[in-house]
């Protein structure tokens, strides 16, 4: 006997609303408990640079609340790889020191476009994922990064003037 798909309905209940955020954040295709844990704490304030020189050096594995600038005032290390209208958008640059080469996740809670730049070259992402209804984080992009004293992350096309970010190493067995 074959099973048939069924459609069930539930009226709006407070319980569902309370449960939704946690449920939604379980919707990533990877285990993102570590990132989720970072995002539920208060982020350290930082102001993203308007150019490579003014970009602050941030720490891996720490949550930051980044302040951005109007995109027209930002000079990027390389042009953002994603073509889009940037009217009214916010942008900025930050640096990280990558001690060990490997896969890293950039996690954000607002719709940024992210470019990872090393030695003036944009590194394509190798995967990304989001989870509907989850803002802690909203989107995770994975990069295969070389060890470098200065990785530049460029954020552009943001609809918000600030947003939270983390850079975390991918757990070896969980990617």
């Amino acid at each position: 006997m074959k099973l048939l798909p069924c459609v069930a309905f539930a009226l709006m209940l407070p319980l569902f609303q309370l449960a939704h955020a946690d449920d939604a954040c379980s919707g990533f295709k990877w285990d993102v408990k570590h990132e989720h844990t970072l995002f539920i704490h208060e982020g350290r304030m930082a102001t993203a640079g308007k150019d490579d020189k003014s970009a602050p050096m941030l720490d891996v594995d720490r949550l930051y609340l980044l302040g951005l600038s109007p995109q027209e005032n930002v000079k990027f290390a390389t042009p953002p790889a994603k073509k889009m209208l940037a009217d009214g958008a916010s942008a900025g640059l930050v640096h990280f020191r990558i001690a060990k080469a490997g896969q890293y996740r950039v996690s954000v809670d607002v719709p940024f476009w992210i470019d990872a730049v090393v030695d003036g070259k944009s590194i394509p992402s190798i995967d990304f994922n989001g989870a509907q209804g989850c803002t802690a984080p909203r989107k995770i992009v994975v990069y295969d990064l070389p060890a470098t004293p200065s990785l530049t992350l460029q954020f552009s096309g943001s609809t918000e003037a600030r947003g939270h970010i983390t850079l975390t190493p991918v757990p070896a067995a969980k990617q």
Binding site: P5, K83, G88, G130, T159
Partner: protein
């Protein structure tokens, strides 16, 4: 299933010729295919004039653009989102032109898996495009600040296992949908729930150039060719519907959002302009889609097109279609007949009471499948199939005999066929 039952062998032979012809055409100048060196910069299939290139690039930028609320400072060209919507950009569902990504496990339906709503009573009265009387045509899962989303869909998957005649095991996942946090209470009992994963945009401009005369007669349904159920006759109509219903954006084609009489706040929300997507922007979005190529596959698996034809797949997934009005291209290998088919009760939609709603689906074009293999697959209209093999095993109704031939073939032939499909 009429063609396959009656003259499957003849069709298979004809289709086989077509496959060979198209395989040659793929490497020839004037191909629909192109190498996607950088997926962030999807190429056109043709050499464009400077004016065409400018329009194509603008359309690509618009595909990626995040739309914002009406009145957002310094964003007059891209404001007007919502107030109810599913995604703020086209790219959120058609990432760089690719198919939307569905769920790999139980969870909240992501933006690319749209829950369409249709009034089945209106459909029986031949009004095929009426949505739910309260929620409209789409369950909007996001909203601007100050508004409440219409709800979310939680998708559960149950595994169902089985065996091929040779004893090889398979497993399919059966989806079920639970609508939660419904803003206006339960849906109308007459509403059909139609989960639809965002289809790829690759090659749609060429599908638009297939002449009417090449399509089967369609007296009993709209003569469309875009969308999972061929609801739209033109790319502009399909694009405008998506912008209106899934992004809350008005255009020269559709001058309203998907707000019903039961949603006064939605109806009276601030506008981002009349229309919100300018005619210039609409034209650029259409130019991008008109010229967007189909990505080459990296696979070099051997040709198994004869197996495809012998199974009867090619009767609907036609290996070639003629096109008109395209420089250098007279045929395309889309592997579709652009027609609607009954694929059985298991793939059909359900109404709010869980009853089966007879559903027919446009034969999904298979070109670009190899590109799709870069990511975990979520195939079919609702993303339930995790592999090409699973997608085939879900075929029923008019495709039942073809599926049975596939099941009855040897494990070696099945693998050859599946590997070859990954080259398309």
């Amino acid at each position: 299933m009429k063609p396959r039952n009656g003259c499957a062998r003849l069709l298979a032979a004809v289709a086989q010729i077509g496959v060979v012809a198209c395989a040659n055409a793929q490497s020839a100048p004037g191909s629909a295919y192109a190498d996607f060196v950088d997926t962030r910069d999807p190429p056109p299939y043709a050499a464009l004039t400077p004016a065409q290139r400018e329009s194509y690039d603008l359309g690509h930028a618009l595909l990626n653009t995040q739309w914002v609320a009406a009145g957002t400072p310094r964003a007059e060209r891209r404001d007007g989102l919502g107030p109810l919507f599913n995604a703020a950009s086209c790219d959120a569902c058609h990432n760089e032109g690719a198919r939307g990504q569905g769920l790999m496990k139980d969870g909240v339906a992501p933006a690319p898996l749209v829950i369409q709503l249709q009034d089945t009573r209106a459909r029986s009265a031949h009004r095929v495009d009426d949505g739910d009387p309260v929620y409209g045509h789409v369950l909007n899962i996001s909203a601007l600040p100050g508004y409440t989303p219409e709800g979310i869909a939680w998708v559960h998957y149950a595994e169902r296992s089985g065996h091929y005649p040779d004893g090889t095991a398979w497993s399919l996942r059966v989806p079920s949908y639970e609508l939660r946090e419904l803003r206006y209470g339960a849906l109308s009992t007459g509403s059909a729930i139609s989960p639809r994963l965002a289809p790829p945009l690759f090659g749609v401009g060429l599908l638009a150039q297939v002449p009417e005369s090449a399509l089967p007669e369609a007296a009993d349904h709209p003569r469309g060719r875009f969308g999972w159920q061929s609801a739209s006759a033109t790319l502009e109509q399909q694009t405008a519907i998506a912008m209106s219903r899934e992004m809350g954006l008005t255009s020269r084609t559709i001058a309203h959002d998907d707000c019903t009489d039961a949603q006064p706040a939605c109806r009276s929300a601030a506008s981002g302009g009349t229309p919100e997507v300018s005619a210039q922007f609409m034209s650029a979005l259409l130019a991008f889609q008109a010229f967007l190529a189909v990505p080459h596959s990296n696979s070099n698996a051997g040709d198994a097109s004869p197996l495809f034809a012998e199974a009867g797949c090619a009767a609907c997934h036609r290996p070639q279609l003629p096109v008109e009005g395209v420089d250098g291209i007279t045929r395309i290998a889309a592997y579709s007949d652009l027609s609607l088919h009954d694929l059985g009760a298991e793939l059909a939609d359900r109404d709010a009471a869980g009853n089966i709603v007879p559903s027919r689906f446009r034969t999904a074009p298979l070109w670009g499948l190899g590109h799709a293999l870069r990511r975990p697959l979520t195939l079919l209209h609702d993303g339930r199939a995790r592999s090409i093999e699973e997608a085939i095993l879900w075929h029923d109704g008019e495709a039942l005999q073809a599926r049975r031939r596939f099941e009855a073939s040897s494990a070696t032939d099945r693998k050859r066929l599946l590997d070859w499909l990954g080259t398309l």
